[in-house]
């Protein structure tokens, strides 16, 4: 595990730094300002990738949760632990950048429309996983409750995705089936590189968090062994 971490971490950090630098240069130096929204539209290059990666995090959380519930192997729990925490961070950033864009665009920071409300529900579910794990009496109980809540959180993602279609609302739909590509070439490049950069940042944080989870498991095992050898 330690060797795998050392092999992955260094190159991933380097690639993430380069791609993130390229994304920021494309967003601020190359991508043109949108005709009506002006500078504020550039929040789109960070808000949409953050939302995409939040969905990705919850999908990986679902894989980890189902893997743990099916096999009880700790590696699946570590994956679920890592993605629930990092996913919560990304969901928080989505919920912060959205209102910062909405204030100049809609004139309000927040409105209780379907997409925003269901995203807030996802944030609460992810926060619930972290709290349930924190307050669990044993690591096994925390893993089990976290996995079940992870499956429930995953059910919210298709609801968020389809919220505007099902209930209407103010949230813009930029991409989707039957929609033509709305981005100018300079905007498209910035958006795609920003998407890659945010995905790499997510991967880097998950690798680090999984390393921490492995150390946490090692501490529990060693404390157990120390307690048994002293009694």
């Amino acid at each position: 595990m330690r060797r795998a971490f050392a092999l992955v971490y260094g190159p991933l950090l380097g690639v993430t730094a380069v791609v993130t630098g390229a994304a920021l240069a494309l967003i601020f130096l190359v991508a043109p300002e949108e005709r009506v929204m002006g500078a504020v539209q550039k929040l789109f290059y960070i808000h949409v990738p953050l939302a995409f990666v939040t969905f990705l995090a919850v999908f990986v959380l679902l894989v980890g949760a189902l893997g743990y519930l099916g096999t009880r192997r700790p590696v699946w729990d570590r994956l679920a632990r890592a993605t629930s925490e990092v996913g919560w961070l990304f969901c928080t950033l989505v919920l912060v950048t959205g209102p910062i864009w909405a204030r100049p665009a809609w004139g309000v920071w927040w409105t209780w429309e379907a997409k925003l409300t269901t995203t807030l529900v996802l944030w609460l579910l992810l926060a619930g996983i972290l709290l349930a794990r924190g307050y669990a009496t044993t690591p096994e109980q925390g893993a089990r409750v976290g996995a079940v809540l992870g499956v429930i959180a995953a059910l919210d993602v298709p609801i968020i995705y389809k919220a505007v279609d099902w209930w209407r609302g103010q949230h813009p739909i930029v991409f989707g089936p039957g929609k033509s590509d709305p981005l100018a070439p300079g905007m498209r490049a910035a958006f795609l590189v920003a998407m890659l950069a945010v995905t790499l940042v997510f991967a880097l944080l998950v690798v680090l968090r999984m390393r921490l989870a492995a150390l946490e498991d090692a501490i529990v095992a060693a404390e157990d062994a120390a307690w048994r050898s002293s009694s």
Partner: protein, 52 residues
Amino acid sequence: MEVVVVKSYAFLFWGYLVVWAGIVGYLAFLGARLSRAVRRVEALERRLDSAR
């Protein structure tokens, strides 16, 4: 029809600042937890070695 262009760099600035502050803050928090966990594992290993 007159098009009103939103010229607010303040919102753009705060948006990106919040994102990077969040990511860097979490990285620092993770780093601190990682180094604390490494120290704890090493201390427990030493304790177990001396007990054997």
